[in-house]
């Protein structure tokens, strides 16, 4: 009992992170439903790697290990990365990505609260640049692959790299809906023709669109519990919708409808779970709108005109760089001052 205030709200960082992890569960459940349990294996691998790397880095940095391991932030980084990369991949892929995210993107920047970049997205960028092959082997959803692997076959492939004798990698994996769209557009097919392919569902990819719904539900839970504010998801999805809508209206044969963008790739995950990372996003509401709108724009540009199938990760990282500047120029008006630019007053009012 040293100084006021002597009371505090019963709330802590580890509970906040735990709620974010919980909010991912609907999406994960649908993931398992449509794509099989491989994702659970990569989430487990990511969790173990994240905790191990976190403990090791804390030890190297002479920081207390227990309180930081309990904050759940490393787990969240691992889960987000696992959900961003193909689940049916050699075990070391997620391990390398997670270890890099925690060790370099988080701890070399000063640990919890100090990372300039979203660690999970740094891990993703490292993997997609270093191991592009492994990053394209996405599992086909139920009923679409030529052969479906059982759980133990999946485990065998992940840990030993061995497939059943009758299966090839091509037979069990496929390009993502965004990737397929891009490839076939290059072949001069129209959007309408492409969307008739069996891998597409109601709005976007069969199965993956449902996972996106799951993340949307989780995101609404985060909004309802006020863990995130509306600014980032609304500005991100809104910008993506408006830009995609403009292009779609101009040339519907070449540019896919905005809802396709919402429910494809990492858009929902990014809007509610990745861009909203408090540490690497702006602290002002106006700044959040600018930050997320910029990310929405970059995501669309990469998807429509860039070399990578999805753009959420690079959009996040590029906008992360701008955060300090955005925050500086979006300072709100202070009580008793005329405008945000009002000169600081150095003397205090009389009581």
């Amino acid at each position: 009992m040293l100084f006021s205030p002597f009371i505090s709200k019963p709330d802590n960082v580890s509970q906040i992170m735990l709620k974010v992890l919980l909010a991912l569960l609907p999406g994960i459940a649908l993931y398992v439903w449509y794509f099989g349990p491989a994702i659970l294996v990569s989430i487990t691998l990511a969790s173990l790697t994240a905790l191990g790397t976190e403990a090791l880095m804390l030890r190297l940095r002479n920081r207390p290990i227990a309180p930081f391991l309990k904050d759940n932030s490393a787990l969240l980084t691992g889960w987000l990365l696992a959900l961003s990369i193909p689940p049916l991949a050699p075990w070391w892929l997620i391990v390398v990505g997670t270890a890099f995210a925690i060790a370099v993107a988080k701890h070399l920047y000063g640990g919890l609260g100090n990372n300039l970049f979203n660690p999970a997205m740094v891990g993703y960028a490292v993997l997609i640049i270093s191991f592009p092959m492994q990053m394209t082997h996405w599992i086909a959803p139920h009923g679409l692959g030529q052969i479906e692997l059982g759980f133990f076959d999946q485990l065998e492939y992940i840990f030993l790299g061995v497939l059943p004798h009758n299966a090839t990698l091509d037979a069990i994996t496929m390009a993502t809906p965004l990737d397929t769209l891009k490839t076939h557009l290059h072949l001069d097919q129209s959007v309408q023709q492409i969307l008739d392919m069996p891998i597409y569902g109601q709005l976007a990819g069969h199965g993956s669109e449902m996972v996106a719904w799951g993340f949307l539900c989780g995101g609404l839970y985060l909004l309802a519990t006020r863990i995130i504010s509306w600014h980032i998801p609304v500005a991100y999805l809104g910008t993506l919708f408006v830009i995609a809508g403009i292009f779609h209206l101009l040339d519907p044969g070449h540019y896919v409808a905005p809802l396709f963008h919402w429910f494809s790739g990492a858009a929902m995950l990014g809007a509610f779970f990745i861009l909203t990372d408090p540490v690497s996003s702006p602290t002002t509401n106006k700044g959040r709108l600018i930050f997320a709108a910029g990310a929405g724009l970059i995501t669309y540009l990469i998807r429509a005109f860039g070399g990578f199938p999805d753009g959420t990760a690079f959009a996040t990282l590029l906008m992360n760089i701008c955060v300090p500047l955005i925050v500086l120029y979006t300072q709100p008006k202070v009580f008793g001052k005329k405008s945000p630019k009002d000169n600081p007053v150095h003397k205090e009012g009389r009581p």
Binding site: S4, P5, F6, G113
Partner: protein, 529 residues
């Protein structure tokens, strides 16, 4: 401007405004409002600090061994911002020395110790009709009656009434009492509403204010009803306004915003926007000073927290707090005491320190009521602090600057607009003692500015001294040169213009020589030969 809601009050519509942020901590007020205010028994001794108010300490005007009467002046206001201190009862002054008081610094301060004789013998005093006096005279009376703000800041009231040429539109009485546990104003309003509204009228008279607004949080319906009744009974047109219960709605600037929609400009005073604000208990003291001629000798103190019976007591200034706590009976696991509320109060350095004019509440603390916070984690910039800051600041940035000692940037981010309400610390999920960082940064900046001022003064002094030495040297040299010149001139003059005596000698000499020449020319023998 955001309009939060419209309230129909006395058939008048008053639009209430909203300030950003705020929190809803558990109020814990009902425990101490079950029974009426009790008069605390006369304590065994009274320790009256001479510095209980903002500004300069009062100068002691009694000596050890003096017998004093109740209400007798023992400390004379000393300086522009200062206030008088009186003997709270009759008795003997046994010491005037440094004693521990309730102050964040924990440093002792000059106090007069009085042993009561139990007679409660008053010094002659008389009521005055305030309408017969000028505002300036009334201000002087309040200064000599030791009336200071009883909301916690203890700012001398006469200074706040000295408004010069400024026109005051609204006089605001602050009955918000937004801090948890504290109920002294609530109970005072319930039980002594008539005195409060008359005190308000006296304040209005001195300020020549057009309207009187009494702001009370809507969790005090009894107080609101009592004041409305008292106003109606006297046919006054003061307006009681129920305001939303939100902490820190009782902070003067936030209350002014809620009631008038005006923001006191940063670094300015409420009077600059035509508003002045007093606590309801201050209005009560003004009433006592004028209508009964009694200086400020006692105040209502809430005893709450880890005690068997929480209650409000009317306690004499100088009452040792342990004697007050004993009335409520602290529970065995009590491990400390807080003066003020749990949001902005200070821990008492010792439980025997005296009640002062700023003591609105004493809370017995225990680990059960105030569990020690878990170790702080790094800031994750979640901005829960931003959401609750009533000054629209960026607490997470200010914390960052304070932590890295970037005081210039902290100032540029309006550190000094922070009112230290503690809302940010309350909601911080990393349990960072944010307010403590701001206090540290503010005190460092003040200390540096003070050091800089001293250094500037020292440098100026040094430069002046150098200049003076140089000038003296020059003057000396000039003087010497002048003297030498004068001496030379004198020498020259002495050659050109002989004195009369010399002239006479010269004349003699010339005459003698002329005589010799004559003798030589005549060729005659020397007469002496």
């Amino acid at each position: 401007m955001e309009i939060s809601r419209v309230l129909i009050d006395n058939e008048k519509m008053r639009t209430l405004y909203h300030f950003h942020g705020g929190i809803h901590p558990p109020s814990n007020k009902s425990q101490s409002t079950q029974v009426a205010i009790a008069r605390a028994p006369l304590p065994s001794r009274l320790v009256v600090p001479l510095h209980q108010h903002a500004g300069e300490a009062a100068k002691p005007i009694v000596q050890v061994g003096d017998h004093v009467l109740k209400g007798q002046l023992i400390g004379m206001p000393d300086g522009f911002v200062s206030s008088a201190v009186h003997a709270p009862t009759s008795g003997t002054i046994t010491a005037i020395d440094m004693q521990l008081i309730a102050h964040p610094s924990g440093l002792p301060n000059l106090c007069a110790t009085l042993i009561p004789d139990g007679k409660e013998e008053w010094i002659p005093h008389k009521a005055i009709d305030y309408r017969d006096h000028s505002s300036a005279e009334l201000q002087q009376l309040l200064r000599m009656a030791g009336v200071v703000g009883l909301g916690g800041a203890a700012f001398p009231s006469d200074i706040k009434l000295r408004i010069g040429k400024q026109k005051i539109t609204s006089l605001i009485l602050n009955g918000a009492e937004c801090e948890p546990y504290i109920t002294c104003d609530d109970m005072l309003m319930r039980e002594r509403a008539a005195e409060i509204v008359q005190g308000a009228e006296m304040l209005r008279f001195m300020l020549d204010a057009s309207e009187v607004l009494i702001g009370i949080e809507d969790n005090k319906p009894e107080a609101i009803a009592a004041l409305k009744q008292a106003i109606a009974d006297r046919g006054m047109n003061h307006e009681v306004v129920a305001i939303p219960t939100i902490y820190p709605g009782g902070s003067a600037k936030q209350l002014i915003r809620v009631l008038t929609g005006l923001e006191v400009p940063s670094g300015k005073l409420p009077t600059d926007i035509g508003v002045q604000c007093f606590n309801v208990a201050t209005a009560y003291s003004v009433y006592r000073a004028f209508a009964q001629g009694e200086p400020l000798l006692s105040r209502i103190v809430t005893i709450a927290g880890n005690v068997r019976q929480a209650q409000n007591y009317e306690a004499l200034i100088g009452t040792p707090i342990d004697e007050l706590i004993a009335l409520g009976v602290a529970l065995p696991d009590t491990n400390g005491y807080i003066m003020g509320g749990p949001m902005m109060g200070i821990p008492l350095p010792a439980v025997h320190v005296p009640v002062v004019k700023a003591t609105n509440c004493v809370i017995a603390a225990s680990d059960r009521l105030f569990p020690p916070p878990p170790p702080a984690l790094p800031c994750i910039r979640c901005t829960r602090c931003v959401e609750v800051c009533p000054a629209d600041l960026q607490p997470q940035d200010l914390f960052w600057f304070a932590q890295s000692k970037e005081f210039g940037r902290a100032q540029a981010f309006s550190l000094f607009d922070c009112i230290e309400c503690g809302a940010c610390s309350y909601v911080c999920p990393s349990h960072i003692p944010l307010v403590q960082y701001y206090r540290f940064a503010k005190s460092e900046i003040r200390a540096r500015e003070h050091d800089k001022q001293l250094a500037d003064q020292a440098r100026e002094r040094h430069e002046y001294r150098e200049h003076r030495i140089e000038r003296e040297k020059q003057e000396k040299a000039d003087k010497l040169a002048a003297k030498e010149k004068a001496a030379q001139a004198a020498k020259l003059n002495s050659l050109q213009q002989p004195t009369p005596q010399q002239q006479a000698e010269l004349a003699d000499l010339e005459a003698h020589r002329a005589h010799i020449r004559e003798l030589a020319q005549s060729g005659v023998e020397h007469p002496e030969d």
